[in-house]
């Protein structure tokens, strides 16, 4: 069995995944997405599957699209990765599946965005449609801030600033929850704790094991199913007595979650990849 791991950079996660695959007798080829060339009429068929770990979502999406056209299985699939790479697509998928998520609004001009923020009620959170690691998140507390921020965003230009994606701010208790889903199982979950309202570990949040109760399990599996299933990290917010799914990540980072949960996350991912190669029907979420 020969699996390619598509990478832009070899981080701790990629080394752990490589070792887990090798430990299972799988031959692993590390493929640097910056060096890869793909001629569409000449499929590369030397891999039984490709584990997509590109740090660049653009490159990862392009490459998985071509691989799938060649019949090469990818983890995650192109469609799942595309849905998760766009917060708008994720929100639409969650809403369509009835998964509770923060109230979300879209607007396409600064003026309309102010109206959307007023309709949601302050504070609201402005997010880039594509982006990760808590980058470019802005909490907007009032109309003055909204008008200034939206004007600046419009002046920056470019298609990424032409869509205003807003969510009602959830007054979470100094933490959020990240649940790790592999196939039809929630393998572990962590709290991400921070004094800052942005609780990404990339922004310094601390991690702690989070017990998986029936509600968290069900919500995580429903969110995974909503985007198409696979190997996913589900971000959830505690909104008083209920959970809201805020994001779903398709190329999850987990180095800070292994020790605190005691779960062999790379091993579980490697098992999933092996099942995909073997053609074992992969259950999707709930």
């Amino acid at each position: 069995m020969r699996v390619a791991m598509l990478c832009s950079r070899i981080r701790v996660e990629e080394k752990l995944l490589r070792d887990a695959l090798v430990h299972r007798g799988i031959e692993v080829e590390i493929v640097d997405d910056r060096e890869l060339t793909m001629t569409l009429a000449h499929p590369l068929r030397r891999w039984d599957a490709v584990l997509e770990r590109s740090i660049s979502q653009t490159r990862g999406l392009a490459i998985t699209r071509v691989l799938e056209s060649w019949g090469v299985p990818t983890v995650n699939t192109h469609d799942v990765t595309a849905t998760c790479a766009s917060k708008l697509d994720t929100s639409a998928a969650l809403e369509a599946s009835g998964v509770p998520t923060p109230d979300t609004a879209l607007a396409f001009s600064p003026e309309a965005a102010v109206q959307a923020a007023e309709d949601l009620g302050y504070p609201v959170v402005l997010k880039p449609v594509t982006g990760s690691w808590g980058r470019l998140l802005a909490r907007i507390n009032d109309r003055d801030s909204a008008e200034a921020l939206f004007e600046h965003k419009a002046l920056l230009g470019g298609p990424e600033h032409s869509v205003f994606y807003l969510q009602r701010h959830v007054d979470k208790p100094g933490r959020d929850i990240r649940a790790f889903v592999v196939g039809d199982d929630v393998i572990c979950a962590i709290y991400r704790e921070s004094d800052h309202w942005v609780t990404n570990t990339a922004r310094g949040a601390r991690t702690r094991d989070c017990p998986i109760d029936a509600t968290l399990r069900q919500m995580s599996l429903r969110a995974a199913a909503a985007v198409g299933g696979g190997v996913l990290a589900i971000d959830l917010l505690e909104d008083r007595d209920r959970l809201l799914v805020s994001e779903v990540n398709a190329t999850m980072e987990f180095k800070n979650s292994i020790d605190v949960t005691g779960v062999d996350i790379p091993g579980r991912v490697a098992d999933h990849v092996r099942e995909v190669v073997r053609g074992v029907p992969v259950a999707i979420g709930a």
Binding site: I10, R11, Q57, T58, S132
Partner: protein, 52 residues
């Protein structure tokens, strides 16, 4: 050698191509592009589409 400051950059055992190390002299983030001999380039800055 660090391409930023010319300082020698030690490579720990197990470090491979594609990994990022930090120059002990100038703290530049360096990507390992060769192992024998060790070669480095300045790691590319974070781009807007990078993430999970």
């Amino acid at each position: 050698m660090c391409p930023e400051c010319d300082a020698p950059v030690p490579l720990e055992d197990g470090v491979g191509r594609g990994e990022v190390v930090t120059c002990p002299e100038c703290n530049a983030e360096l990507e390992v592009v060769g192992l024998d001999p060790a070669r480095f380039v300045v790691a590319p800055p974070e781009e807007v589409d990078w993430g999970e």
